[in-house]
Every structure is written in structure tokens, then in C-alpha cells.
């Protein structure tokens, strides 16, 4: 039987850091996409939002997020491209946030709905915890590239990694 769950590309950030993590020229041969990343950025704080973009653009993206911190829980739409928190420069050393982003039917002519599960635990009482995100890119274009950037920080630090998987439904 043909392989239906394949790694398309992996990005590993080197010693100089990287302003963004990009997957480009994504083939249209799959049904769904899944991104798995482990990341940390250089914002001088404990956390930052990590943002998603499609096809070189940052517009027409909305979301609904549910988060749980040490002593609070909430739901927001105020950072529409966020897929959750990323550990930043003031977070506990060596801690990275992990996440999965699932994008079904990425080549269809319908709007693109996606799901993200993100964790950023760093053994402090600060704003670390977990994020669930429902996202929507209101575009009928097929997704051919995906970017991950920071909301305030300017770079992902060394050892941040992200892998893009393709999943076929037949």
C-alpha cells in the first residue's frame, strides 16, 4: 500500500537564528497538511505569540483560541494569526514550545479551516500553559506556502525545528 503520511520538509534553525520558518513550493499531491514544531524566540519576555501565514500573505486570517495558564483560563480572538505561545528569551533555559497544526483540504477552492494544539510549559508560574486554536484562512486559493513568524520577537533561536507532513486520504 502506498505511503499516505509523509514528511515533506523539515526546517532546523541554525546558530544565527531565523526571522521566520518557511515551507514553500508545497506540492498539491496530498489531502491534508500537518506541521509539528518545537520553537523558542528572542523576545525579551517569557512568551510571545507564534503567527501563521499562507501564500506569502497575512490577511483574511481569523481565529478563536482557548488557553489555560497556571491560575487562569480564557478565550480570545485578538491575535488572529496566533497558533499559540512560543517560549521566549526570559523563559527557563532550554525550554521550547511544541505544537501541531492540522490543515485539511489545503488545495480545495473552499476557505481553509485549521486546528492547532500548542504547549509552552517552562516550570514557572508565569503565562505558560496550553493553547487550543481554531483558525480560518478566508481564501479560495490552494495553499502553496506556509510561514511561521513571531508577534513581537524578531527571530526564532537555534534548535527550533518544524516539520511539514502531507497526508493522503486515498
Amino acid at each position: 500500500m502506498a505511503t499516505t503520511y509523509e514528511a515533506i520538509a523539515t526546517v532546523t534553525v541554525g546558530s544565527g537564528g531565523a526571522a521566520s520558518i518557511e515551507f514553500t513550493s508545497i506540492p498539491a499531491t496530498y489531502t491534508d497538511l500537518k506541521i509539528v514544531y518545537s520553537a523558542r524566540n528572542n523576545r525579551v519576555d517569557t512568551t510571545d505569540h507564534i503567527l501563521i501565514g499562507f501564500n506569502g500573505g497575512t490577511t483574511s486570517i481569523t481565529n478563536r483560541q482557548l488557553y489555560g495558564f497556571a491560575t487562569s483560563v480564557g478565550s480570545i480572538t485578538s491575535v488572529p494569526r496566533s497558533v499559540g505561545y512560543v517560549n521566549s528569551a526570559s523563559a527557563t533555559t532550554n525550554t521550547f514550545s511544541n505544537a501541531e497544526v492540522y490543515i485539511p483540504n489545503y488545495t480545495s477552492s473552499n476557505y481553509k479551516s485549521y486546528s492547532a494544539d500548542n504547549v509552552d510549559e517552562n516550570n514557572t508560574s508565569g503565562d505558560n500553559g496550553l493553547w487550543l486554536t481554531a483558525g480560518l484562512w478566508s481564501s479560495t486559493s490552494a495553499i502553496t506556502s506556509i510561514s511561521l513568524t513571531s508577534n513581537i520577537g524578531t527571530a526564532f533561536v537555534q534548535y527550533s525545528t518544524a516539520t511539514l507532513y502531507g497526508i493522503k486520504n486515498s
Binding site: V73, S75, Y102, Y111, N169
Partner: protein, 157 residues
């Protein structure tokens, strides 16, 4: 390398449809994954049932939700929880150890509708039978055309 994540069945609706069933699910996998992507016209949640068991009291769930009204965590009977919204959403469920015939079945699901809400659910079907079919029902409306339903099987070894 052996293939351990396989598509079992998929369907794309060409017209608005109230019910979709995956039947004759073989017991050759360890876990199942369902991905629904599309639109749902109902004013209440859609739901799912296993093996044509429509007795609501055999099902229960606990959930946490984020929505325009804030957040909540609660529990209830039944399997309501499929929400795709009016702008397109995604519902993903993992059905662990579905083929065993000794334990009740647990389902972990994620609801994703950016326009209405985001949530995580844990469901329990209080039945020890192996799952051989799953039916998705639009309780108060239809799953709209272009909605896709895909069932994957995952093998532990």
C-alpha cells in the same frame, strides 16, 4: 517501512446531507482517526453514534470550550459536539483501541470553528463491542455540500 497510518474511507458531499456512515470497519488497526472539514447548517451540535447504537444514555462527554461568551467546562450525556460553523470548520477525533471487545470506548476530539468556538472533548461509549461503524448526524440541520469526511486507521505495529 510498514505503513501504519492508512486511509480507510473518505466521502465528499455533493449535496446537503443529514447523515454519513462509515461501515464495515475492519478490526485490523489499533486506533481510528476521523477528520471532518466543512460546513454544518444546524443550530445545535451534530453528533456521532457507534454500531447503530442510538441510545443516548450509553454515551457521555466532558468538554472545555472557548467561545464568544467566554470559556466553560461541563459534562453531559450523548455525543453532541460536532460544530463546523457557517464559515467552515474542522472536527478531528481519535478513537483509541476501538476493536477490543472488553473495554468501553473512549474518544478524544477537537472542535474547530473559528467563527463560533474552539473546544476539546473526551467521549465515552459504554459498550464493550468492537466498533465496526460510525455514523455522523446533523441533529438540527445538514452537513453542507463540499463537506469531507475521512476515516484513517493507525496500527501500533
Amino acid at each position: 517501512m510498514p505503513t501504519t497510518y492508512e486511509p480507510i474511507a473518505t466521502t465528499t458531499l455533493s449535496t446537503a446531507t443529514a447523515s454519513v456512515t462509515f461501515s464495515s470497519i475492519s478490526g485490523t488497526y489499533t486506533d481510528l482517526v476521523v477528520v471532518i472539514n466543512g460546513l454544518y447548517s444546524g443550530t445545535t451540535y451534530g453528533k456521532f453514534t457507534f454500531n447503530s447504537d442510538t441510545t443516548a444514555s450509553n454515551y457521555s462527554y466532558t468538554r472545555m470550550l472557548g467561545y464568544s461568551g467566554g470559556v466553560l467546562s461541563d459534562r453531559s450525556g450523548g455525543t453532541d459536539g460536532i460544530s463546523l460553523g457557517s464559515t467552515r470548520g474542522t472536527w478531528i477525533a481519535h478513537i483509541q483501541n476501538y476493536a477490543n471487545s472488553t473495554t468501553y470506548k473512549t474518544v478524544l476530539a477537537r472542535e474547530n470553528a473559528a467563527g463560533t468556538g474552539v473546544g476539546a472533548y473526551v467521549y465515552l461509549w459504554r459498550n464493550t463491542a468492537a466498533i465496526t461503524s460510525v455514523t455522523f448526524t446533523g441533529v438540527s440541520g445538514n452537513f453542507d455540500s463540499t463537506t469531507t469526511f475521512t476515516l484513517y486507521g493507525i496500527k501500533a505495529a
